[in-house]
Symmetry: none
Subunit: 406 residues, 2 copies
């Protein structure tokens, strides 16, 4: 159900400031049954003190059993129903790579493949080349195919056999089928138009595939390309339109900046490598007076979880804990701390498990949760929420939502 | 919202086995405020031990306040939204009776009624005859009316004044109105077609009502019939199509076999009377290697609740407890234990109260629930779920759902 018209109707002005901190993939699992999760194992004196004066709850990011990718997990936290606000595969790659990806462009996920002389696919992943090998071939293609007819063609290396193409020109459509036949022994499929007006884009994708084969005919392995997930940059209503918020994003990794920009946040520059704690803090301080809402993203908790590095993830949680006093010193009216999904080290992957939510704000009830952990969050006074339900709660505590109905 | 296309997209192969055990109507109420429920009163050493190493949660079968029938309660547990996947009244009776009810057939719920000579309904339930009386009259009707035109007519005794008719022939429709006027003093209503193509079926229902009056004109009480809930066998996507599961049902009562067959489960034969613990266990063992998912149903907890027999229901829970070690010995990857609704002996009826859910599976968080009871389930790490949310959770724990979105 679309609640945006309701939020729009109820929005009211306020001087309050909302700070939403996302520790990517922060939810975890014990290494063995009955043991602590990463959050439970971490020593977090500052978070513990904050939890005492906060309300906690447990957040199911998207749906029970669904392990969300970064896209759905974040859109839900921003209040955008991830079943309604879809980001195509090509578009998500473009956001993840920080590619120049504009309204009207069409992004396509490419696989380098090995094709037989008759065009049959021998290996859909071209023997899993190194990312450097990918870069070399992408550079050849970019030089040889800067455009097709009047359409610009931009190639980007993703990793191993994966690359991205962004087409830029007038009248392009993303309603074209994949050329990837999904298994070896078949020929690449022709790109077909899925609706009237898409015929030219389908023809261009076919032409692109042919040109790539010509340019790469001397390559032993990376001599063809298969395309999937043609998509335009989605056009979502902005957080300004929906919530009346001047919203800013502070993140280091392209994917999160890209997702924030999709919902109309201003993406602020951050100096420093990796999670750049100091750089993010500086950006936050310097821009504190200019926005109503800040989305502050930390990536390393997820990265360590993906690596299966339980204690590395614990260390990242503790690093964040050390930063916390400086965030609190800014005096946000509403501070929310949560994750976009769980990434238990035990699974080395995103999982479907709920994540803890901490809310420091006016108008809280007492609760019995004493730490920012999965187990304590269960006892919290916020109860059990879906990711998409977080934003209205933050707006309410920030005094930004009027009464619904008379 | 229809999530089936999402599950279909995300399904992935696995060697895992899921065992879903449904103790029908297992949720209860105390006999007096502050007392134990049936589950709390039962001595269940095996369940208690299992609960220690499981995660618990509380499941609202369909919606808060709604006391579900067997149909909606079970469909929800199978992941089929009971507000979207509707089973008509006639179809549900046919399933409950284990009637031969095929695609294209139309099932009608009948009431024997007492009609005045001018056709006015004197008693909508014909003085609540005994079920034996019903059988006698049904036999008369079956012999006298084996068909109408080229349509086969099959009569089944349900109980007391209730019976079932299954019509079998080409081009039948269930879009016909009820003939039951819903109160005495009125004449039976004509069956009307609700859409083009249903006219003939409406005429046949009218003809059937006339023929029944002719055949039963010498009966003092059961001399007419009123029809309701014309329905075809619903055509639902199968669990194989939706989840990629080879699914089997092990149940003794026709209703549950019928519901399982509606979602494409293979219904396995069970030897023995009543809940047939040994027979079910044997069927489960013998078929263990042939399926990915087993639905194992026990009925008596509900039956004792319906009878208002608190201690009888406690006894059925304890009987199940005794069987539990043999179920665990099979080594299911994911074991879920729950009910399709509550049937508190205190109410002698299905109720709307949530039911406990126990999940023994990989990737569990520690939780503080120590027994499979309503009160302990509240503290469980699974939180509070809807019935329809159970299946995706089971699939996730079984490693059968890929990440949603990149």
């Amino acid at each position: 159900m679309d609640l945006f018209p309701i939020f729009q109707e109820l929005m009211q002005a306020s001087e309050s400031k909302i700070l939403l901190v996302v520790l990517d993939g922060v939810g975890g699992l014990p290494l063995e049954l009955g043991g602590p999760t990463e959050l439970e194992a971490a020593r977090t004196p500052n978070l513990d003190r904050l939890a005492e004066e906060s309300a906690l709850g447990l957040l199911t990011p998207v749906y029970p059993g669904l392990a969300p990718g970064s896209g759905p997990g974040h859109l839900a936290l921003f209040g955008y129903d991830p079943f309604r606000f879809l980001v195509g595969r090509g578009a998500l790659s473009a956001l993840g790579l920080g590619a120049d990806f504009r309204e009207g462009d069409v992004a396509l996920r490419g696989n380098f493949a090995t094709l037989a002389p008759d065009g049959t696919v021998l290996d859909r992943r071209a023997g899993r080349p190194s990312t450097e090998e990918n870069r070399r071939v992408v550079a050849r293609l970019q030089e040889a195919i800067p455009r097709l007819e009047d359409v610009e063609v931009h190639f980007y290396t993703e990793s191993e056999h994966r690359f991205l193409v962004v087409l830029r020109g007038e009248g392009l459509s993303d309603a074209v089928t994949d050329t990837d036949p999904q298994k070896a022994g078949l020929k690449p499929l022709p790109a077909r138009a899925l609706e009237a007006g898409a015929e030219r884009t389908a023809r261009l994708v076919g032409l692109l595939s042919e040109r790539i084969r010509e340019v790469l005919r001397d390559e032993p392995k990376l001599n063809g390309a298969l395309f999937r997930g043609a998509s335009k940059r989605p056009s979502f209503p902005s957080m300004g339109e929906v919530y009346g918020l001047r919203a800013a994003a502070i993140a280091s990794y392209p994917m999160y900046k890209g997702l924030a920009s999709l919902v109309g946040m201003e993406v602020l520059p951050v100096e420093g490598e990796g999670d750049a704690h100091e750089g993010k803090l500086r950006t936050l301080r310097e821009n504190w007076d200019r926005y109503d809402f800040f989305y502050l993203h930390f990536k390393k908790t997820d990265a360590k979880g993906e690596d299966g590095d339980f204690w590395g993830k614990v260390g990242e949680i503790e690093r964040f804990d050390a930063l916390l006093p400086e965030l609190l010193a800014l005096g946000p009216t509403v501070l929310a701390l949560t994750g976009d999904h769980s990434t238990p080290a035990a699974l080395k992957a995103h999982s479907w498990h709920p994540v803890p939510l901490l809310l420091k704000a006016p108008y809280l009830r007492r609760d019995e949760a004493r730490r920012f952990t999965e187990g304590e969050a269960l006892k919290g006074s916020l109860g059990h929420l879906r990711g998409v339900e977080l934003m209205p709660l933050l707006l309410a505590h920030a005094g930004r939502l009027a009464k619904y109905g008379a």
